[in-house]
């Protein structure tokens, strides 16, 4: 055996024990858990839920947001319902014999005032069982979704009640695994990526006119604002502020950065996390790096203070002002948004969100 093979075998033997019976049950229920918790917490959670196979489903049901179990949830009415706080997708149904029905999965929206509505016109799962994302504008006022009836994307204004259906038809079969949807602040544009992380190109669509601009597959959209699409190519790492009419060119950063924020209000800065030392990944995910988008230079590091101990940041969210950025961490109870002062690094809690399998927050790209 070569040293390479021997080393591979050695690493393989270090693979942790996985409760495969529990994974099988969850797979049959069509569920994916979000695991981004420190090892100790994960071990505790696992020990608590797999005491007996029969208890797994019960435990998972109880972890869904309260609204999911609430009876009498009505369809989103026409007219003004107010800005949205978030959206979530309901899980597949599992009966007492563990038969799974994913046809019942649907999107629901929760307004800032706390009202929950069904959004049956938004396709949640394709015929090939691919998840279909929705996107909420950063002010919560608009939501974009894919309509099976129209075979196109629709943007609904939750305040005026108006709906705009894109004239660009997109076959349902185009929606692949890891598809993403981005909605511009003003609701004029959506960026549809049929399969994030692949070479399959995305499409910037002007919803009212149907004008489109192709987005190279190796780039992923972070946001659309003020006529500019923010695109990131990971690993290298390149950031491309592409005008909605196309054009522009990317800037390359010196290093590997991930978790990009939208462009700051100053129009020159983005925040991200630098990936350098695998042994310090949690610390790195609690240290924002401010980057100059015109030169590609690293401006400074901002270690975040005041986040829950040991929790890495899961997402960066919208800028609340020129000096405060939203970050999101999660734990066993749900997701928690914090505002971070990029001058001092101090974080303060903003909003708590319930634990849900698929949660879409305003201004944050979701798959």
């Amino acid at each position: 055996m070569t040293r390479l093979r021997r080393a591979l075998y050695g690493i393989a033997e270090e693979a942790p024990a996985v409760d495969m019976a529990a994974l099988v049950d969850q797979a049959l229920a069509g569920r994916r858990r979000r695991r981004r918790v420190p090892a100790m917490m994960a071990a505790v959670a696992m020990a608590a839920t797999v005491v007996a196979t029969g208890t797994v489903m019960t435990a998972m049901r109880s972890s869904q947001p309260q609204e999911m179990a609430a009876p009498g949830i009505t369809d989103l009415p026409e007219g003004n319902v107010g800005p949205l706080g978030y959206a979530y997708e309901t899980p597949c149904k599992v009966d007492e014999k563990r038969r799974v029905d994913c046809g019942a999965a649907e999107w629901r929206v929760v307004t800032g005032a706390g009202e929950t509505y069904r959004l049956p016109q938004a396709l949640a799962m394709t015929a090939k069982d691919r998840r279909v994302p929705v996107a909420i504008s950063r002010d919560g006022r608009k939501i974009a979704y894919y309509s099976r009836k129209d075979r196109a994307h629709v943007v609904r204004d939750l305040v005026s009640g108006s709906e705009t259906t894109s004239p660009v038809t997109v076959k349902e079969s185009r929606i692949g695994p890891g598809s993403t949807l981005v909605l511009s602040d003003d609701g004029r544009y959506v960026v549809f990526d049929p399969r994030e992380g692949s070479k399959d190109p995305g499409l910037l669509i002007e919803v009212s006119t149907g004008k489109t601009v192709k987005v190279p597959g190796k780039y992923e959209a972070i946001g659309v604002r003020d006529g500019v699409v923010e695109l990131v190519r990971y690993l290298k790492t390149d950031l491309w502020l592409m005008p909605v009419t196309g054009g522009g060119k990317p800037v390359r950063f010196d290093g590997a950065f991930m978790g990009f924020s939208e462009l700051a209000p100053d129009g020159r800065t983005v925040a991200a996390f630098e990936r350098r030392d695998e042994k310090k990944w949690i610390q790195e995910l609690r240290t924002l790096v401010l980057l100059d988008v015109s030169t590609g230079r690293k401006l400074r590091n901002v270690p975040i203070q005041g986040l829950p101990e040991g929790r890495p940041v899961m997402f960066t969210g919208p800028w609340r002002s020129g000096s405060e950025l939203t970050v999101v961490v999660d734990d066993e109870k749900g997701a928690h948004a914090y505002g971070v002062d990029i001058g001092t690094g101090k974080a303060h809690p903003l909003t708590d969100y319930p634990k849900a399998l698929y949660l879409t927050l305003p201004g944050i790209v979701n798959e």
Partner: protein, 172 residues
């Protein structure tokens, strides 16, 4: 008999191999479990067809690789784990090799890493590797070549004389 029993039996019989492959691909216990879970969701959906006239083994391998390569490159999926597990205090040659190889694997592209795992851990042929990755044999050759070139550059000790026959076997 529950209609899902076949799926359960299939997965449980291969749990060690699946877990190890996922771990080699991700290098992280949590990510490996995430990867397995996502893959099994896909396989479960196809099980009625696979169990009748499909090849569950090949489908599962391909689903695992597709899932791994297409994983979104965002925070919650991408961040590597902390240090490798410690196994005692003595750092003999084999232990060092494992530590070094972990670092090399982390610096490969996903496709290169997948090719190395399939060719040298699962011992698949180039044709089988191409099938698992859904690409051509030529792509497998070129990806293997690049992965091994990277390995030579970063860890020449792992690309020592004993490994040369392996390199020559797969280099176009």
């Amino acid at each position: 008999m529950d209609r899902h029993d076949g799926f359960r039996e299939f997965v449980l019989a291969r749990q060690q191999a699946l877990t190890r492959t996922a771990y080699l691909l991700t290098g992280d216990a949590h990510l490996a479990e995430d990867l397995l879970q996502s893959t099994l969701v896909n396989v479960a959906k196809q099980w009625p067809r696979l169990s009748v006239d499909g090849n569950p083994e090949a489908y599962t391998r391909r689903a695992l690789m597709n899932q791994y390569i297409s994983w979104r490159r965002r925070l919650r999926r991408e961040w590597p784990s902390a240090s490798p597990p410690e196994h005692g205090v003595s750092h003999d040659e084999e232990t060092l090799d494992r530590i070094v190889l972990r670092q090399v694997l982390a610096r490969l592209t996903r496709k290169q890493r997948a090719v190395l795992v399939l060719r040298f851990w699962e011992d698949l042929t180039e044709a089988q590797t191409a099938e698992a990755l859904g690409c051509s044999v030529g792509t497998v050759k070129s990806q293997t070549h690049r992965a091994l070139a990277r390995l030579r550059a970063l860890a020449p000790e792992l690309a020592g004389p004993h490994s040369l026959s392996t390199f020559q076997e797969v280099t176009p």
